[in-house]
Symmetry: C2
Subunit: 277 residues, 2 copies
């Protein structure tokens, strides 16, 4: 890099910024996964936050701490892979010695024309949709622990989560009212969206990914699928089809009463991954 | 926060981004300093990178790792102090469990009108100036280890370094050719500036801060004074005076031969703080 800062050409519209830190042994189990996956997942998680606002990525910076003897080349390979695949160049960084390998990724994005989609805009009557079936990453973690290879399809879904950038931008274009990524599982994140919007929800169905359990679909997280609410689901589906994206799946609708939070006939309790501190 | 990202109003001109990570026990000694100083210094170091380009700050995000039982309130107090004093609001963050307390700060800034000052622009014949006497922070660390109180003036210079934001913007306005902050000491950083510019330097003098030694002034770092090169030092001084800033101190000039690196009659060897990894 050379200079103290990276200099970026002027932004188009609103600027988005998000930071995520991933810790080796906390966010990823060294017994079952290579170090490069930590780098990949750290970048993917931060990029997904931009996707969840309907933004496009501009660049990221990466701060790494590591104990002596860490294979930083391997870590950087994962970071570089994710950066290349999401079109999010690493423009700066810092490195320090510590007991743990920690990767803090800060991503910058932009919303041309403004209108970043927040999680607080859901309205009673909105249809609730997700960008794909849920639970793949959690199922992959379980399968890996049971002995599946690193190249098993679900294990790859855990190792190499794909931020839904194109889907997020299409959803913003379609004027969805609220959106967020399901980084901690829909059983937790949909409650957060409903809390922020002051509404409830009635889910009729949950699309469970092949090979995953209902619990993994509810609480798994790290799929980075997006959940969206809109009063014009036809327009949303059309825009996704136009852009060659998988048709979003309807799972229920928003209700005015914030105390109503159901899946089928039953209340949906808060569940999902929350980091212990 | 609530949302996945912070949304910032459009930037004016070029955007600047820099990230710095500070580790408790590496960047600051827990035996001699309170945890809040780690937070303050982490923010100040990142903000100083914006100052060194001549930019103004817009916002920062902070990723923290910590072991259970860490007094996060105290850490956040230091972060909030530095954010308030430098006018750089914390707009987002992340938190994870790890063995060490690490604070990764990413600062965003902007250069209205463009023209961020790089370290690579120094030209033969330029005068070299610094924004103030050097070695205060290093002297403060020594004095603290010798038993001085936390409120000792030099100890405070170590605990609460002040990024030279106003000075950096004045220097950019004056059209300096090259600039950087002396985070690792002029004995190392001026070599970096000369390397990036493909030039040498002849220093006639070094302004040593009251209470500091020549070695502390050369190698101490963390003063966050700025070093600048310009072919119009009169204009630079005038602009600093106009804005009520301390007059920059001339220390020598740039020469064309990159192998010439002298202080007085002697070669100036590379020295200063480099983190071990």
């Amino acid at each position: 890099m050379g200079d103290d800062c990276a200099v970026l050409a002027p932004f188009v519209g609103e600027a988005l910024i998000s930071t995520d830190v991933a810790v080796w042994g906390v966010h990823l189990d060294p017994e079952f996964f290579p170090l490069e996956d930590l780098g990949f997942k750290a970048v993917a998680a931060a990029v997904s936050d931009i996707a969840a606002m309907g933004g496009r990525v501009r660049a990221c910076v990466v701060a790494v701490t590591s104990p002596p003897g860490t294979d930083l080349e391997e870590l950087h390979r994962g970071i570089a892979d994710a950066a290349a695949m999401t079109g999010c160049p690493v423009v700066g960084g810092d490195l320090a010695r510590a007991s743990d390998v920690c990767v803090a990724v800060t991503v910058l994005g932009e919303c041309p024309g403004g209108g970043a989609v927040r999680r607080s805009g859901a309205r009673a009557g909105d249809e609730i949709l997700v960008t794909g079936p849920l639970g793949r990453a959690a199922a992959g973690l379980r399968r890996r622990r049971e002995g599946a290879s690193l190249s098993d399809e679900l294990v790859v879904a855990h190792r190499r989560p794909w931020p839904r950038l194109a889907e997020g931008q299409a959803a913003r274009g379609a004027g969805v009212h609220a959106m967020m990524d399901l980084s901690d599982g829909i059983g937790l994140d949909l409650h957060r969206l409903a809390d922020a919007s002051g509404v409830g929800f009635e889910l009729s169905t949950l699309p469970v990914a092949d090979g995953a359990t209902l619990e993994e679909a509810l609480g798994g997280g790290e799929d980075y699928e997006l959940v969206m609410t809109t009063d014009d689901p036809g327009r949303l589906r059309m825009l996704f089809v136009d852009r060659g994206l998988a048709t979003p799946l309807s799972i229920g609708h928003v209700v005015a009463d914030p105390s109503v939070r159901t899946l089928g006939a039953h209340p949906l309790a808060r569940q999902g991954y929350q980091h212990e501190l």
